[in-house]
């Protein structure tokens, strides 16, 4: 479900034989899941907006 979580231990253990699966499969699933929700929501696909933290307000 999280490629990064699979990449870390795979590299450090030296066992890379199953890694491709845990990179490719989540990409397919995540793309399908995102498209499915956009279909249900009924809006065009667009990336999520990331808002930088307002440091002045936080301080």
């Amino acid at each position: 479900m999280n490629p990064a979580r699979s990449i870390g231990p795979a590299i450090l253990s030296g066992d890379l034989h199953g890694l491709w699966l845990y990179i490719v499969a989540p990409l397919i699933g995540a793309a399908a899941g995102a498209l499915a929700y956009q279909f249900v929501r009924g809006e065009d696909v667009r990336p999520a907006e990331l808002h930088p933290i307002d440091t002045e307000e936080a301080a």
């Binding site: 479900m1 979580r5 231990p9 795979a10 199953g18 499969a25 995540a30 929700y37």
Partner: protein, 95 residues
């Protein structure tokens, strides 16, 4: 600025540090917690996208939809992750 490369880098860096910590303290045991198919690769290739589908669906619903209660996102996403671990991971281990 596009934050995506930073998010990607931070995730992988964190995973490498965590795996390095495990290997340094416990040795190269149990593949340092690496995700490996418990059945065949084909089985994992079927279930992995299914699980990620539900996870991404919930993330889109609670974290990107303006109608959703943003504060509930962590509970919904965490709950989805726990539910998938309990259902699919456990039934795979039971075989």
């Amino acid at each position: 600025m596009d934050a995506r490369p930073c998010l990607l880098g931070a995730q992988i860096t964190g995973a490498l540090i965590a795996a390095g910590l495990i290997r340094a303290s416990l040795g190269n045991d149990a593949h340092v917690g690496a995700t490996l198919p418990s059945g065949s690769q084909a089985q994992s290739f079927v279930w992995e996208p299914v699980l990620t589908f539900f996870l991404m669906f919930v993330i889109m619903a609670v974290a990107t939809d303006t109608r959703a209660v943003g504060e509930a996102a962590a509970i919904a996403i965490g709950g989805t992750s726990v539910w998938m671990r309990c259902s699919v991971a456990r039934s795979a281990a039971r075989r």
